[in-house]
């Protein structure tokens, strides 16, 4: 053991990029790293290891009771049964189950231990002192204020502080209205956050996907004649925006504007006209309600109309997203 004298001063003097590059260079020269090793490690973590394995485990548990029991009794063993590429050599995983009266939450107060074999690398917030400090002392306040998950006072929150190489993941409740979903469809509903415990899927809490899954379930529960039908994607977007924006305000405020638009428009094609009216009502709603500035809306409309902007940037995982961002910067 050789003391690294003045280490802290060295670390403060240089930015982390210069320190990391120096380390990389010397390790490559020593034969402990190689150019292709670094590239493969980055590619693997960026593209291959994610929460999908965990979602598949959860969906299987929702559809196969015997598997669920094996999973809760011996998480690692049950995961190994499945055809998922999980590194069980370095980690054991215990799944802890939510029910109507119990909610589970995972944290690592000492560093950033995480069930990465099933969830990939942790999100940035999971590693912050802000999350780590409060999760054990005030989990209910943390979930309510930071994750829009308002649990009733009588729902017991069990917090698991991951101090060992045994890692915890949450088995969330299967959302209502998904009885007819296939296992593959269920996989898509399982958010990463629900397996950490900051999202509950069931119970109408805001989800990691911005509530899209919950909204989909809500629409699925509507009688067929009440479900909206759309002739173009923009109609669905306008509909969804109005539903989302009026969540905290009386629906009547939007409806009043919609009625007035319908009264003023006398177009012959009822379906197309309806969503045109809907969109105008929405535009009035956001401007008159003070949500957006009228000029900002007009500018943005002009950008879309001129082809200077597309909606790719708002689509999670859209490969065109980056290109459009850089396009924006050029303006």
């Amino acid at each position: 053991m050789t003391e690294f004298e003045g280490f802290d001063d060295y670390a403060r003097e240089y930015d982390p990029e210069a320190r990391a590059r120096a380390l990389q260079s010397l390790l490559i020269e020593e034969g402990l790293l190689a150019t292709d090793t670094v590239d493969e490690v980055i590619a693997t973590y960026e593209h291959e290891i994610g929460p999908l394995n965990g979602a598949r485990v959860v969906a299987r548990a929702w559809t196969d009771d015997e598997f669920r029991e094996r999973l809760l009794a011996d998480g690692t063993g049950a995961i190994e049964e499945m055809d998922v590429d999980v590194d069980t050599e370095t980690m054991e995983v215990e799944f802890v189950e939510n029910d109507d009266d119990t909610h589970n939450l995972v944290v690592c107060t000492l560093c950033s231990c995480y069930p990465w074999a099933v969830l990939g690398l942790p999100p940035t917030w999971y590693k912050t002192p802000e999350y780590r400090s409060r999760a054990v002392r005030d989990p209910r306040g943390l979930l309510r204020e930071e994750f829009d998950l308002d649990l009733a006072e009588d729902v017991e929150i069990q917090v698991f502080d991951s101090t060992s190489e045994l890692r915890y993941a949450v088995l969330p409740q299967r959302p209502p209205g998904t009885e007819n979903h296939s296992e593959e469809e269920l996989v898509e509903l399982v958010s990463r956050d629900s397996m950490i415990g900051v999202d509950r899927l069931a119970g109408g809490a805001a989800a990691a996907d911005g509530g899209r899954a919950a909204e989909r379930d809500r629409l699925a529960d509507l009688a067929p004649e009440d479900r909206p039908t759309f002739e173009a994607p923009w109609q669905a977007r306008a509909f969804a925006l109005a539903v989302a924006l009026t969540e905290d305000t009386p629906w009547e405020r939007f409806q009043r504007r919609l009625v007035s638009e319908v009264d003023e428009d006398a177009a012959p094609d009822p379906e197309a006209a309806y969503y045109r009216q809907w969109l105008r009502a929405l535009e009035r709603f956001v401007v008159e309600g003070g949500l957006l500035d009228a000029d900002a809306v007009l500018d943005r409309v002009a950008e879309f109309h001129a082809g200077d902007r597309t909606a790719h940037e708002f689509v999670d995982g859209d490969p065109h997203g980056h290109a459009d961002h850089s396009h924006d910067h050029a303006h």
Partner: protein, 224 residues
Amino acid sequence: MDGVHDVGGMDGFGPVDTAEHEDTFHEEWEGVTYAAFLAGLGSGTFGIDAFRHSIERLPPADYLTASYYDRWARGIARLFVERGVLDAADLRERTAAFAAGEATVPERYDPDLLSELAAGVNEAYDAAGDGSEPRFEEGERVVVRNHNPAGHTRCPGYVRRAEGVVRASRGHHTLPDAAAHGEAETEPLYSVRFEPAELWGERADRATAVSVDLWESYLRPAES
């Protein structure tokens, strides 16, 4: 050690920035740092507990202000020097060159290296081993000793001296307190559940509980 990393139950850190970042590594040097971490573990230069302890040894102000992967970069660089793989003067000199824009990363290809490192990583992680018969049973009441070694430990400060119930017995695992300092010991590991008032007193939310994995030497039987 009583370090600032042991944040469980602390007040005042403020709101959580839950903004999602699209990329796993926000900047390329972060991925490079991760690769250097795997090189350290995989080559047997250091183990996971020595790595954690190296980060814990950062001065509190540096720990709290450095970004997550900067803490990693610091913890890893220190260990490569301490374990004699790299020379401190070489590292300083090369870092200064990169900071001045006068250095480039050398290219060298070694297609077999990643699988060699992966095998080493598996060995570096805690291997559940054999050992003495577990002293505590499921359902038994235990008290966490005032366990506060100068070196590394995985006993969070907020459970010290608290009484809890053994939720589950988890077999034998490498004792981090020993492994971080180059000693090989395994001990029975338990999941211990603590009631809120025991940990947080009057401010406790009654309908919560915290379970922590604790090694046998952290615990003693509760007095009946």
